[in-house]
């Protein structure tokens, strides 16, 4: 307890100290042009996202083009840069000119891009997203092509975790080394354990898995725990629906993760490590396996790391598809071959972890920050971010925004900036912002009044949501809030391990009530019932999964109670999303009084008499849509 208070005080002092310093420079990584090379270089965004949008076909077409024109070029895969809305991406660089990023490349415009860029020596302006001049090299800029980093999507982003994602070849350790890789480790092995932990403490880094526990404290507990060997485990079981931050790092920059883990292992005194990665990320596992192999070959992993005698080895453990295995105790059980079920704490993993030995577990994103913190110093890192939450946070921005994607911003950035500036505003002009859902099934929906709130652990918690792993779903007026809560609850019910009563039975019951409400069978008494079960489940669940599972329901009741009541009392869904609550009406101006709609109605709810507009009786209508289908004039809505 005393320690926690002290750390709080230390965090409070930090901004004053930071203000006195010169602002930290945002790191931008560029792959240097190899000396003496003449051949152009081509990068294809081939993360899971790029591959899904057709990058594999592009790769074959590029190879065919090069062969047809007797050209030689290096074609390399690279990870995700975050622009989901512009996939697939192809970057091309020729000697002496900046790298140019092309967006929405398809077989339609690929030939033109390659022709203009490789044969004509000019960027193909129509498809170019931006150029990335490397300030360290003399490069002649292309005219009429915007600067990549000045584009609104990137302008406000600060990339620390994702600095190399989409930039380097993910299979090449040399790219990583050329962009400052393993410098943090080289520095770390000259430091003592205390110095490293101190640096992490100064940085103010908190667990990016969602709970926000100070990382340095976790490391200290594990280091001070008795027992050998110790384990440094990475939680890469990213399971929130719509969250893919960790995947981007695993695929785009595996060595950042490894470097962070190795530094952590050095600080904690760990000898072995596991990366618990979900089996649904096959590409990530493939890339990681290759990265571990290369790191061992270069002496960054193994029995004698950088010649210091320090030994650390990493094994990848594939998860079997259970969301709850992202919970640390369930994860440890799963590593040990047990059923993936959480276990009561204490004892904590710091003292009794894998195989009963001291174990430290951090999330992928947490580890991805470490190398930079050690290399540039804790103070540099602490410059970024809000008062209580330092550094940056990656968000998977999805939903009704124009530019969905992966964004990394300093904590404290407002929701408005995230949605309107980086995300480019709402998809549909006339349909307004309704809420932003943070933290997936463990989080909650924050309404428009939170637009100006800076995002950090504390502000989100105060609003009833959580940071979680960083999923943000933007909802507009066409999204039903009850149905959204129901969706996340359905996920939790499916993924609850079944060990403790509140989570197992509480969530199942909440789901049933929510389903009833969305089906128009709700009662006013359902709202206090939902509240009762929510509070019970929050206070009494065994692990984090159950303790936060009611959040979607609670925030919905807190901010959108009128919408819930509308479902119950008026049997109406204002978002026109809940099927059973849609009322079909005949539009008088379109109705030709033909009467074709009458025969199909199975309940005689549709009443029609010759030369009169049809009329639907809502009490007997079963919403089968038979009349809608039958009307040739689309007069029934």
């Amino acid at each position: 307890m005393a320690d926690e208070k002290k750390s709080g005080a230390a965090l409070a002092e930090a901004p004053a100290a930071a203000a006195a310093k010169t602002p930290s420079v945002m790191p931008k990584r560029f792959v240097p042009w190899p000396e003496g090379r003449e051949k152009p270089r081509i990068w294809i965004g081939m993360g899971t996202c790029g591959t899904a949008s057709g990058a594999q076909a592009l790769k074959e077409e590029i190879a065919a083009f090069l062969e047809d024109h007797k050209l030689e070029a290096d074609v390399m895969p690279t990870g995700c840069v975050g622009m989901c809305h512009n996939e697939p991406l192809v970057d091309i660089q020729v000697k002496g000119r900046p790298r140019v990023c092309y967006r929405k490349v398809s077989s339609k415009n690929l030939q033109q891009i390659l022709k203009e860029h490789l044969l004509d020596g000019e960027a193909s302006k129509r498809s170019a997203f931006g150029q990335l001049p490397n300030p360290d090299e003399k490069q002649v800029l292309y005219e009429g092509v915007p600067l990549f980093h000045d584009e609104p999507f990137f302008k406000d982003q600060v990339k620390i975790v994702m600095q190399r994602c989409g930039v380097v070849d993910y299979y090449a350790i040399d790219d990583y080394l050329a962009t400052g890789g393993y410098e943090g480790l080289r520095k770390a092995v000259t430091m003592t354990s205390d110095q490293i932990i101190d640096e992490v403490k100064k940085s103010g880094l908190r667990g990016r898995g969602g709970a926000g526990f100070p990382t340095w404290m976790k490391w200290k507990f594990a280091r001070d725990a008795e027992g050998t060997p110790k384990y440094m485990v990475c939680n890469a079981d990213e399971g929130d629906p719509g969250a893919f931050m960790d995947r981007a790092v695993l695929e785009g920059d595996p060595h950042t993760l490894l470097e962070g883990m190795i530094i952590g292992a050095y600080a904690v005194g760990a000898k072995y490590g596991y990366i618990y990665c979900r089996a649904e990320y096959p590409l990530a596992i493939k890339i990681l396996t290759e990265a571990i192999k290369q790191a061992k070959e270069r002496g960054f992993l193994g029995d004698n790391i950088l010649g210091t005698g320090f030994a650390y080895d990493i094994i990848i453990k594939e998860g079997a598809g259970a969301y709850v295995c992202g919970e640390e105790m369930a994860l440890l059980n799963s590593i040990m071959g047990e059923r993936g079920m959480p276990v009561i704490k204490p004892p904590f993993p710091a003292t009794h972890g894998v195989w009963g030995k001291p174990t430290n577990i951090n999330n992928v994103e947490t580890f991805a920050n470490i190398a930079e913190i050690v290399q540039r110093g804790g103070d540099w890192y602490a410059y970024w971010g809000s008062e209580t939450t330092k550094g940056t946070k990656t968000f998977a921005l999805t939903g009704k925004v124009k530019r969905p994607g992966l964004v990394e911003v300093p904590t404290g950035t407002t929701i408005r900036k995230l949605v309107e500036e980086i995300g480019g505003g709402m998809t549909l002009k006339k349909v307004g912002f309704k809420a932003a859902q943070f933290g997936g099934p463990s989080g909650g929906c924050l309404p428009a009044e939170y637009m100006e709130t800076g995002i950090d652990y504390e502000s989100l918690n105060a609003g009833g949501a959580i940071m979680g792993s960083g999923g943000v779903v933007v909802l507009d007026e066409y999204n039903c809030m009850v149905d959204t809560a129901r969706f996340f609850m359905e996920f939790t019910v499916d993924e609850s391990c079944g060990k403790c009563t509140p989570c197992r039975d509480g969530t199942a019951l909440m789901l049933q009530i929510l389903e009833r409400i969305t089906h128009g069978e709700g009662e006013l008494g359902d709202i206090p019932k939902l509240q009762q079960i929510s509070h019970f489940t929050k206070a009494n669940s065994l692990c984090g999964l159950g303790q936060v599972a009611p959040n979607p329901v609670l925030t919905t009741l807190r901010y959108f109670r009128d919408e819930v009541e509308e479902h119950i009392v008026d049997k109406k869904c204002r978002a026109h999303s809940c099927d059973e609550l849609i009322e079909y009406v005949v539009m008088e101006d379109k109705c030709t009084t033909c009467g074709l709609c009458k025969p199909p109605c199975p309940t005689d709810a549709l009443q029609w008499e010759k030369k009169q507009t049809a009329f639907i009786n809502h009490e007997t209508c079963i919403r089968c849509k038979a009349c809608v289908m039958a009307c040739p004039f689309m007069a029934i809505k």
Binding site: A322, C497, G498, C500, T501, G506, L509, Q512, S541
Partner: protein, 888 residues
């Protein structure tokens, strides 16, 4: 009201009452000390908390205000807890409401109704109206296993059953499948449950999700009568409640925290309760009329028995009568049987089933250490630093003692080393094992002693204090490892590794099973184990040597002096002072020389030296192989009295048969292998006119005009306690922390230890070398059976009909034998045809057959070697060389 009681180092306040507790105490334990009830489903005092059911939620107000689970939360100094605050009660109610929402509420037809925690808590903490509503679960009941039915609709998924199976029984026969709301409990992969059927999952189930087929719909808890009694199957002596309804046994329930098992039971104890009500029970005395045994009245039968015995005594003297007692009789019966034989009939020929092996434990333990039975208690086993288990499949033979060993393994990672000729369950869990050739236990033990000596593992204190004894044994170990490796098949490296690991433990306990004492040189083998404990410094409180018993009251046999070389109190016949005390107490003269042992008695019967015999509580015709000619010996007798529960093979040859009462129908005491004297109590009425054994002995004595009259078993025990001090106090174990063997040990080291040294370490010849047969047949103990009693249980017979030869699967494949095939087993003595069961319990080259099975006459294939007088005259017949071939 605040009452501060200082017990430990930190304080906690629960509902305003303050108590001091030791650090590490959990909220639920402190509440128990204060007498505050906290409801629990998944919590069990003998297992680590799971905190799964969340019903034990309590509100902590200091140091932070939060809901905590009482079962798992360790107390912080100054903590304030409320177990009945509105928030606690509301959460508890919601929890129950959630459970009851899907629970089938079929209480009227649920066996658990009346003792169901969900029912009780609903009344106490629930609401009368459940606000929630949902579809109830609708799984079909899983009734595929022999005993246990799983009703997933009633299950509240607390996981206690799974935990008891994995942590206490260490089988993990059941587990969760699926997840979340649709999780169900059952055997893996949806297979029918086929396990050891200890039934502990059912015992810990707070609701009626797991029920026993043997008791289903046969009882309502509040209509049952329950009687605490002692289990009658093995030497563990577990305490349980025998429950009856309308005079019939309905079920057996454990008593948490009581007795040697602390609330655990095995399949025999839990489900073997049908033999008392078996239709084949003897109900009336029988007397021989020509070729037939006909029913008679007690008076007629008693008069006839007395007449026959008196005639034999008149013709051949007291020594012309033999008495043979079984280890299933109660302490009081045995004492009285001894007095009848030695006092009323003036016969020295009083022997018993001790002769099957435990006699060696009785004599050697007393001679070397002055101890009767075990040096350690089951609690010592739970706390030991290492256990060496030799010649016992402990989880089958003494399952609850096995659980004590398992407890050490789970909770403290206690290393267990096993030396045995078959692959046992405990071997798999243990830290080291030697799988040796059947019958070579003596050689293996010698190998361990040699390793201790050669590797310099002798305890420094022992070497300094007893240099002469150590020097003598060093001299004896001059031979090579070759002479050990050849008969055992164990390597020097294995022996040394095991000896080193065991010697390095502070408190090492040695457990010796029936294959040590009952082997060819049983007495020497046990003496060697004592040497091993002596050399490694393990003859001290908390450590030691412990012989395991087979029958439930073998220690009672020892204490009653039921062997010609023993006196009441387990003292040697040669002890003149003790003999004088007995003569004084019984007011009679005892013969100076001990009588004949069992095999001599059979020889004597055939040779005409013995004219009459009185056999009670045992069936030598069934338990001994044909080579001993037991049946012919009994047929040669002029007069035979048999007293038993059933018309056994022995009883068929009798002139008078007395129907005895089972343990459930009478009072008395049994002595378990630790030396605890524990009560049995009448729970039901005996069938017909059966009488307790002691009353029959007393009545026979009356007819012989040597009155041995008692009002009840307590009076007998009170008299016996004059000679047998162990009988004076009930329910205490003499074994345990307090046993100091130094004085007896020093006397032994100066005398018999040195004298028998040469003979002791002479290895016996390998068994039956003359036989041309290659495969080794071994008579093994079964978890499910022990003999007459167990095989008269229709329940146990359903679980394990077990008249099967166990073969190694790989070896069976070579001979093209599949499970269920019939094979012919041939030894020098004949052949028998039996079905085959495949299991890796049998090593290649070895086949196993259950010891208790008499039907298929496999036992009659066994050659018998009777040990020398020094080795207890034990008839050794557990191993034989045979050939197994498929019958087409």
């Amino acid at each position: 009201m605040t009452t501060a009681t200082k017990v430990g180092t930190i304080t906690v306040t629960i509902n305003g009452e303050t108590i001091g507790v030791p650090k590490g105490t959990r909220i639920i334990q402190a509440a128990q000390l204060l007498g505050i009830e906290i409801p629990t489903f998944c919590y069990h005092p003998r297992m680590r908390p799971q905190a799964a059911c969340r019903i034990c939620t309590v509100e902590v107000v200091k140091p932070m205000n939060k809901m905590f689970m009482a079962c798992a939360t360790e107390i912080m100094d100054g903590m304030e807890v409320l177990t009945d605050s509105p928030r606690t009660l509301a959460d508890r109610r919601t929890n129950l409401d959630l459970l009851l929402t899907q629970h089938p509420l079929d209480c009227p037809v649920c066996d658990k109704g009346g003792e169901c925690k969900l029912q009780d808590y609903s009344v106490k903490y629930g609401s009368s109206e459940n606000p929630f509503e949902t579809k109830r679960k609708d799984y079909p009941e899983d009734i595929r296993s022999t005993v246990l039915d799983f009703n997933s609709n009633r299950c509240i998924l607390c996981g206690a059953c799974i935990q008891v199976c994995s942590d206490i029984q260490q089988l993990s026969a059941i587990g969760f499948s699926k997840r979340g709301f649709i999780t169900v409990v059952g055997a893996p992969m949806g297979e029918p449950l086929d396990c050891e059927f200890c039934g502990q999952c059912m015992d810990v189930c707070p609701v009626g999700a797991i029920t026993s087929r043997f008791s289903k719909y046969k009882f309502r808890p509040w209509q049952e009568e329950k009687t605490q009694t002692t289990c009658t199957y093995c030497g563990c002596g577990c305490q349980y409640n025998l429950r009856t309804m309308d005079g019939e046994v309905s079920r057996v329930t454990p008593i948490e925290g009581v007795g040697p098992g602390q609330g655990s039971l095995c399949v025999r104890g839990h489900f073997g309760f049908h033999f008392m009500e078996d239709a084949q029970r003897l109900t009336k005395p029988l007397v021989r009329r020509g070729d037939k045994l006909v029913e008679a009245g007690w008076d007629e039968a008693l008069a006839e028995a007395a007449k026959g015995l008196a005639a034999a005594k008149a013709a051949k003297g007291g020594a012309g009568i033999a008495g043979i007692a079984g280890g299933r009789l109660a302490n009081e019966d045995l004492y009285l049987f001894g007095r009848l034989m030695r006092n009323a009939l003036e016969s020295p020929n009083f022997d018993s089933t001790l002769r099957y092996g435990y006699i060696n434990a009785a004599t050697i333990m007393h001679k070397a250490l002055g101890v009767t039975g075990m040096m350690n208690s089951f609690d010592d086993l739970r706390r030991a630093d290492a256990v060496l288990l030799v010649g016992s499949d402990i989880t089958q033979e003494a399952p609850i003692c096995g659980l004590a060993v398992k407890d050490g393994i789970t909770k403290r990672k206690m290393p267990v080393f096993t030396v045995d000729s078959m692959k046992t369950e405990i071997m798999k869990l243990g830290a080291g094992r030697l799988v040796i050739t059947p019958g070579s236990e003596v050689a293996a033990i010698k190998g361990l002693v040699k390793a201790v000596v050669d590797e310099g593992l002798i305890d420094a204190g022992v070497a300094a204090k007893y240099p002469a004894a150590v020097a003598a044994i060093k001299k004896e170990m001059a031979g090579t490892y070759k002479e050990i490796e050849t008969p055992t098949g164990a390597t020097k490296a294995d022996l040394v590794a095991m000896a080193r690991a065991f010697a390095n433990a502070d408190k090492g306990i040695i457990l010796a099973g029936p294959r040590v004492m009952g082997g060819l040189k049983g007495a020497s083998a046990l003496a060697m184990l004592i040497d091993l404990a002596f050399l490694t410094g393990n003859l001290k409180p908390g450590a030691g040597v412990n012989p395991l018993t087979g029958e439930n009251n073998e220690l009672g046999l020892v204490l009653a002096g039921a062997a010609p070389e023993l006196l009441p109190g387990g003292l040697p016949w040669s002890d003149g002072a003790a003999r004088a005390r007995v003569e004084q107490a019984w007011n009679c003269a005892l013969p100076e020389f001990p009588g004949n042992s069992l095999t001599d008695l059979f020889d004597g019967m055939r040779e005409g030296r013995i004219g009459a015999a009185y056999i009670a509580g045992t069936d030598p015709v069934r338990s001994l192989p044909a080579e001993l000619n037991v049946a012919a010996s009994l047929d040669a007798l002029d007069f035979l009295v048999v007293q038993d529960l059933f018309l056994t093979g022995t009883a068929l040859r009798a002139d008078v048969v007395f129907p005895a009462q089972s343990y459930a129908e009478r009072d008395g005491t049994f002595t378990n292998m630790e030396g605890r004297v524990q009560r049995i109590r009448q729970a039901m009425k005996a069938p017909g006119k059966a009488r307790p054994d002691w009353q029959i002995f007393s009545a026979v004595a009356r007819e012989l005009e040597v009155p041995l009259e008692y009002a009840g078993t307590d009076e007998i025990r009170a008299e016996a306690a004059g000679l047998i001090p162990q009988f004076a106090a009930l329910d205490v174990t003499n074994a345990g922390h307090g046993v100091d063997v130094t004085a007896a040990l020093e006397a032994y080291l100066a005398g018999a230890y040195l004298k028998t040294m040469d003979d002791r370490y002479d290895l016996p010849a390998v068994l039956n070398t003359a036989s041309p047969h290659e495969t080794r047949l071994y008579l093994a103990d079964s978890l499910f059976h022990s003999g007459q009693m167990s095989t008269h249980n229709w329940g146990l017979m359903k679980i394990d009909p077990a008249d099967e030869l166990v073969m190694n699967p790989r070896e069976a494949r070579k001979l093209q034998i599949a499970e269920g095939d019939k094979v012919r087993v041939t030894s020098l003595l004949g052949s028998a045809v039996v079905p085959v069961k495949l299991s890796s319990h049998a090593n290649p080259g070895t086949v196993l057959f259950p010891k208790h099975c008499a039907q298929s006459h496999v036992r009659d294939l066994m050659g018998v070697v009777v040990g020398s007088r020094e080795e207890g005259s034990v008839p050794q017949f557990r191993f034989e060389r045979v050939t197994v071939e498929k019958v087409h």
